[in-house]
Point group: C5
Chain length 344, copies 5
């Protein structure tokens, strides 16, 4: 549904905004603590008022944010503000961090990266309550595969740590995807660059402009994310500030990379334009050389094609050969001049 369809609705109305999605949302719950981890797949029509933790801590993942009933009932159970839920269902909402009384809410863009293909940005939201973390993603993806394995096998410190640590690991995964994306973009730019040095073609230009646009899109998605990590790196309540400082460093690195690649794209565009005008120059030069050589010669042979009754040279025995001599001489002088001026 389109953003403008919200015009006239009450604030906090739960309306999905984004590409139409038809798949049924999935609900995956991990109950865990130091002692172990229990995995549970809930039905879409699960009654959230019956929800109870089986271990001390819980991680809920919702794949698909287009079901207002689901979002609403989760929100009601965990006492989440309506405006926050509205943001969860809006795939276009801007990355931001909200610190409420009993929960943190962050939304940002997750990346779906495929080599040589444009970036696909998806909305990702996370609710951090005491001992409960809820992640919302637009589509069923396996971004957090490694994280799930860690929970299940108990490797790392995730089972022992608080909600913020789990949230940190999720954000870290997303930011690692950003780094990966900058590398993919770098590779695509490099391909164009090495093609440019050989021969320019219009599709290269179009690709460069497309990449420039993607970089700008990426920048718009990551700039407010950097504000999120900056805020988190200053928040003492999380208890794991040093991890968020590290995360913020990565975001700064991502920003540097995006800036750097924008510079390279702009470099390549300059090169394209210069080579294009160079090509025109070469074409012009050939045209001029051919014209400059043959037009005077054509004039000379024209002279002796005239039908004047009294045209003395025509009677000379060697007139024809003299004419050739003059023409060869003119051509040689011209070639020498062209060479001197480095035209040929």
């Amino acid at each position: 549904m389109n953003k403008n369809s919200k015009r006239g609705l009450d604030p906090g109305s739960l309306v999905y905004i984004g590409l139409e999605r038809y798949q049924k949302p999935g609900i995956l719950v991990y109950h865990y603590d130091q002692s172990g981890c229990v995995k549970e797949q809930l039905d879409l029509d699960f009654d959230w008022s019956n929800f109870s933790k089986k271990k001390e801590k819980v991680w809920i993942t919702i794949d698909g944010i287009h079901d207002a009933a689901l979002i609403s009932s989760i929100g009601r159970h965990f006492q989440i503000d309506q405006l926050t839920l509205e943001d969860v269902m809006n795939t276009r909402s801007r990355p931001k961090l909200e610190i409420n009384e009993h929960y943190y809410f962050a939304c940002m863009k997750a990346l779906d990266i495929k080599p040589d293909l444009p970036l696909v940005l998806e909305q990702f939201s996370i609710l951090i309550l005491e001992n409960v973390v809820i992640g919302f993603q637009e589509q069923n993806g396996d971004s957090f595969h490694a994280l799930r394995q860690k929970l299940e096998t108990g490797s790392g410190k995730v089972r022992q740590s608080n909600s913020f640590y789990l949230a940190y690991l999720m954000l870290d995964t997303l930011v690692d995807d950003y780094l990966l994306a900058t590398e993919n973009l770098a590779k695509r730019i490099e391909v164009i660059e090495s093609m440019l040095t050989k021969q320019i073609q219009q599709h290269q230009l179009k690709t460069l402009l497309k990449i420039r646009r993607e970089l700008f899109d990426f920048k718009l998605a990551t700039d407010p994310t950097r504000e999120i990590t900056s805020l988190l790196s200053k928040e003492k309540e999380t208890g794991i500030r040093k991890y968020f400082i590290d995360l913020h460093d990565h975001m700064l690195f991502v920003a540097d990379q995006i800036q750097f690649q924008r510079e390279i794209v702009s470099n390549s565009l300059d090169l394209y334009h210069a080579m294009s005008s160079d090509k025109t120059n070469q074409v012009m030069r050939l045209l001029t050389i051919i014209t400059t050589i043959f037009v005077p010669l054509t004039f000379i042979v024209g002279v002796y094609g005239m039908n004047f009754e009294n045209l003395p040279e025509l009677q000379w025995t060697n007139g024809y050969y003299y004419t050739w001599g003059v023409m060869v001489l003119i051509t040689l002088l011209q070639l020498r001049w062209f060479r001197k001026n480095r035209w040929i």
Copy 2:
């Protein structure tokens, strides 16, 4: 009347500044509270000293701000500063928020959006007093149709809430129009973009430059509006800070979108220029190919058009055929060279 006509007038002089308007201003009053809602249409010559609320809360809408007498008598009744009233009547005044002792005043730009047409900006002002909200709009429009219905039917929380909530709903409507406008602009840009990839034409360039200008105009109108929402989102007195924070998020999103579309327009302009120079290049190439092939041939046939008495080749039996042979050979060599250099 023109802004400069105010030169020499006292500050606070009530002079309408904007396009000439001839329609009679309309005055619409909603008296409402939790118990119900009464709608009243006032005459232009209504004596405002007789104005009394029929319910606890009142929403007044003035359509048309070019009648100094009307604005002045409203201002007198509600004890509004002259300088504020001056701003109400100035369609060019810059979006801003004024916090006075007993009222808030905000003016911003409302949009009149029609698909595929340039944006039309209109002045919109709002006065927020205790239990009274007065909205001023340049023309009779139905921007707040949905809001009126809510009041009349009692849906939503508007009847129960304070003046700020009503004002918030009005501002929210305007900001939703901004979002809609960015989408319309995006569509218009997309049309040009897809045309560009086929064939470039000068009117595309003109449209792009017109859109770039509209975007800049839009940016100038929304940048100070963002300051308004930022101030409101920090103001605790309103009692509904979280709604204004949400509104401010939308304004940030609008700003991102405008920035993004400016980038895309600039991308399209670059593409236009590149394709235009590419076209010149193609024309030049054709010219050069034709010239390079035929000018030497014309020279050759010119040679044997000379009238020298002693021109041995003319007597050769197959001279004519040899000449053709040489000409075909030269042409083939040239075509091969062109192919090798990817000119044809």
Copy 3:
């Protein structure tokens, strides 16, 4: 006299810096209070130690700031710092506000606006003491005509108000001129723009570049002025803060307008360049069409102009007509190709 002529002089040396002025400075004094207003024209050699107020408040206007003796004696009488007086006499000094112990000093640029002509910036300085306001202007002008009338007729609140209110009215007049100037610039740009859409000519480019330069000059003059109004709008001592806030809003509007017009000029320059290269393209296309059609035909007629004794086609009865047939055919094919490629 030139700025550099001050090199080596003591600080506070009263030296006029600006275009040479030959007219005699004029001194106009208004003595006024609630009871009435007395106008007085003083001689250039008036002994300022004898100056006495005839009413409670005084407004002095000095037309011409190139007479060091005059400026010096005024300064001495009113105990103005030498450095301040130095700024009064420097037509190039940057707009600024100085708050001294017993006076405020502001200098800014006044505009001399004539339709369709470049902006002329003149230095304007104002000294605000208790009950005394002294204005210094470069030339005898009637910028404050309306203000004088108000004093004389007693309309408005100026006779009742303090020095700051009179100063505010003067600054307001100057700022209204800025608004007027932006409108004049807008009109001049519009003229060029509408000409551009018909046919481009080099003088349009030159005018655009001239306007761009004027806009930059204007921006340099108004940017520091905005700092003045910003400071005044925060100063509580003036007692009329709300008027200065209003004035500052106008300055922000001026800044927006200048920025907007810079964008439009840059748009127009882009259009100029695009249309210019389009024109070249058209010229090239005509050249290429003519060449492509006639050069092959010229070759063909050249072939049958050869004098070979054995050139069979020449003896054919209809050879001449066949040749024409071939030539017409070639031309038709070319025309079709040009049409298909939308060249003609």
Copy 4:
């Protein structure tokens, strides 16, 4: 010696960095107070431990900063930090202000201005101690000629005032040179500009680019200087804050001027490019007109130069004249078309 030659040296090592200088440094001392002024020229091998003031205040000028022994002994006598002395000897050090316990240190760029020549930047350092001012300049120059005269003749307030006042006068002299330099640059730009309007030549472009570079260099030198004057204008300890505020105003004016001239240079470059492409356009147009007129005519005369035995027009009595008629007609039509399209 080159900056990199310091690699591996201890911090505070006194090494001269800059262009090689061979002249002997000069040492000039002014002992002064209200009662009078004594001038003294010291030898290079003067023993600074014997230095004693002959009056209350002292001004020392060192012309030439490449003699480490001299700088070192002065530093030792006046207890100056090694790092400060290192900066004195480094002609590339960035303008800055250091406030130490018993002295102020400022270094900035002095200008050597010659009309129509590029700016030459020289290092200038100043040490301000109680009653002692030491100035270091790269070369023997007479920048402070006027200042010396004031000291000797006792004019102005310099003899009565503290060290900061003397330092202020020196800095004021340097800043006046900056103003002079912006005027010289303005003149050089104006010369190019007026040439541009007549006819463009490549050397104009090169000069413009050279000036742009100088302006950037100048900007880099003055931007940190503005920080110095800003700091000094806030420093109460100097006792002469109002003079430093005035100095800072001048620096702001210099910055405005540099910015303005950068804009004008950029304007001129745009004009150059536009006129250059206009010139190409004219050349192309001439080429196209000539080609379009003569190529068809040449084709026509070629037709009647064919040697077909059966070519009826050749036998017509007035064939030759008819041909001329057709050719004149074609030419007239073409000329009319060119005129209609404003090509000629």
Copy 5:
């Protein structure tokens, strides 16, 4: 190993990120105090739990950061945070300063400078503990040769001073390399610039774009380094603030230089483009001159090549000479016109 290979790893996982390195890391330890200095080369499999200082202070250098076991055991011995160690092993981590409870950690880029070659950036990290400094560098280099000599010979103050002083000397060496690098870049740009004034060639453009890219890369590496030196220059705990202030001044100078060289490169690119279009212009002019002269002449000789039976001029005795006369006249007139318009 690639950055993205860290996806899914626990924070603080020690994984080397960078170009593959095969050489064995080297460990060099200097034990020193005022009394002397002992140098020690440790094996890669040295057991760090046995490490003991032989003098009061220790400087450890690790050449090669790709051995997780080594980094890990050093980290364990000196109680360094895992996240810090992770940064040590990441050659792409952004320059930053971390102040922890018992140590300072800084990482930045070291330069490997070779004349006329692109800059090579290497990761350099430094840990500053009480009386222990540990430096990590990517490769075995001799950047700190001079520093080692100072320690061994006891020259300078390094043996007497604290860890921060040693660290300062190391950072100073790196920053001196930055200065050297800007000079090398300046030289490379100068070479291109002087070539450009003679004749432009495409490889010059490519080199300029390459340098522009290097400058941007350099800027990205040094901008965060400036933050490090800024922080250190404010840190009082180091006890040597004045040295770090000096260091920060150098970093500001480096930033100025980079900015200046970016301006010069951009200047050169402008010159390249202008000269390139100038060249096209010359080619066009020659083409036009040749065409304009010879095409009309060819037409004239074509006229008298026609075979009309009745073509009177052909019978004139001097017809041939008259024709030449006309042709010479036309040519002279054209040449004069070209000269007047300064084409030749």
